[in-house]
Every structure is written in C-alpha cells, then in structure tokens.
C-alpha cells in the first residue's frame, strides 16, 4: 500500500459517493453541483494516472463548461412539480438495479479471471508537449473530424434554440 494507492482509493470513494448522491437528488441544482465534485475528482484521478493535460481538460470542459451549461438550463427552465419519490417508483428501480448488479458481477469475474488485470500500474507522465506532438502526428485527421463535429453541434444548437416568432418571420422571407 503506497501513498499513490491510498490516493487512488480516496479519489475513487469521492467519485462514487458524489455520483450516487447526484443520481438520487430530486432537485436538479443539487445534482449538478454534486456532479461538478465528481468530475473534479475524476480530473485528479487522470492526473494520478499520468495524463496531466487531460486532467486540465476534464476540469475545464466537464466541470467547467458542460456542468455550468446544465446549471444555466436548469435555472432557465420553469420550476415543475418534482419527480415522484424514489420509493413510489420502486417498480422502475428494482429491475434496473438487479440487471446492472448482474452485469457488474459478470464484468468483475471477467476482469479478475484475466491475468493482465493483476499487473500493477506504475506511475508515469505524458507531458502535454509529447501528447500534442503525438496527436498532431498520428491523429490529425480525427482532430479535423472532431472540429467539424463541434461546428455542426454549434450550428444545430443555434437552429434549435431560435424562437418560434423568428422562425416564422424567416420562413416568410
């Protein structure tokens, strides 16, 4: 048990606890704030696993941009009747929990039956410079596709977000 494994288990506990708390929240704002904590801890885990650039991206994109976007939408939409209590929807919870428990056990058996999973991970670090050179040497075409995907996302969000009155006046022209 080294210091790094202690850090790993603490971070894993934080991630799992905050994700479970986020799932069972009835108020959306609380759920989003718990998820920000979960993604922040995941960023720290990425740093521990030797990906400092991805750790920064996780905090900026996931915890920063995506979750703040969620927060804005949650605050913009009108407040509705909260969902039914968890215990009232037990017929919906039970099958899902049983099935995911079964798949979790199968996955755990598969993982620990293979010898490769018992190999200990050693600490390593991919510097952002090396990572950037690797990306733009070997994966320049997927980067272009990803940028195109982001552009399409931008255009689609703009199109869907227009108000009905604007749409009608544009159709008339």
């Amino acid at each position: 048990m080294t210091l790094y494994s202690v850090i790993f288990y603490v971070l894993a506990a934080i991630i799992l606890a905050s994700t479970v708390l986020a799932i069972i929240q009835r108020l959306l704002v609380n759920a989003v704030v718990y998820l920000i904590l979960s993604f922040f801890a995941t960023g720290l885990l990425f740093y521990l696993l030797g990906a400092p650039f991805l750790a920064v991206l996780e905090v900026i994109i996931y915890a920063g941009a995506i979750m703040v976007l969620f927060l804005f939408i949650v605050m913009t939409l009108p407040i509705e009747q909260p969902e039914r209590r968890i215990m009232e929807t037990i017929g919906q919870w039970l099958p899902v929990v049983i099935l995911s428990g079964i798949s979790f056990f199968i996955a755990g058996i598969l993982i620990f039956e293979t010898a490769g999973s018992r190999i200990n991970l050693n600490t390593g670090m991919a510097t952002p410079a090396a990572f950037g050179q690797f990306i733009f040497k070997g994966y320049w075409f997927p980067v272009e596709i990803a940028s195109f995907l982001l552009l399409i996302g931008l255009v689609g969000a703009l199109y869907l977000g227009r108000r009905e009155s604007e749409k009608r006046s544009e159709d008339r022209q």
């Binding site: 894993a12 799992l16 996931y62 995911s100 979790f104 490769g116 990572f131 990803a146 996302g153 969000a157």
Partner: protein
C-alpha cells in the same frame, strides 16, 4: 506502483452502470442527459487507465475525442430539451404522451 489495473477497470464499470441507472430510472430529461455524461466519463477513465498500462498515448488521444463528442452532444441535447419544453411545456418524459405511447 499505484493499483492493479483491474481496480481501475472496476471503478470505470461501476461509474458506467451508475450512469446507465441514472438515465434509465430518472424521468427528467436533464437527468437522462446527465446519465449519458457520466457514462462517457467512465469510458474516458477506462481509456486513461489502459493508456498507462500499455505506456501508449493512443488511449489518451481517444479521451480527447470523447471530450469533443461529449461537448457537442450536450450542446445539441440541451437545445433539444429547451425546444421540446417550449413545445410541450414540460421536461418530464412521462408527460410526452401525445402519440399515446
């Protein structure tokens, strides 16, 4: 030495299943989208662990593309949610029953 590789995979699987449970059980459209985000994050975690195990950077490159997909997915998804909220006046999936499904 950090931990055995299997523990990282196990954490990723638990996170993925939590995301799946969230998007199946919750009836709010925003919570369904949040479940998809949790699942994408779990996939990224598995990729980073594999990248460290084999000492290859390809896993980390895939995580970069997962980030791009997650960002555009959330932009389109939230725009769709706002659009359908304007049309039907609700973000609860139970209230979408115009087709009597």
């Amino acid at each position: 030495m950090i931990v055995p590789y299997g523990n990282v995979l196990l954490l990723a699987i638990i996170l993925f299943l939590l995301g799946a449970v969230c998007s199946i059980v919750r009836r709010n459209l925003l919570m369904i989208l949040i479940g998809v985000e949790i699942m994408l994050n779990a996939a990224g975690l598995a990729f980073v662990g594999a990248s460290l195990k084999w000492r290859l950077l390809d896993g980390q490159a895939f995580v970069l593309f997962i980030f791009a997909v997650a960002a555009s997915e959330v932009a389109i998804g939230l725009a769709l949610i706002v659009y359908s909220q304007r049309r039907t006046g609700s973000v609860n999936a139970d209230h979408y029953s115009r087709m009597k499904g």
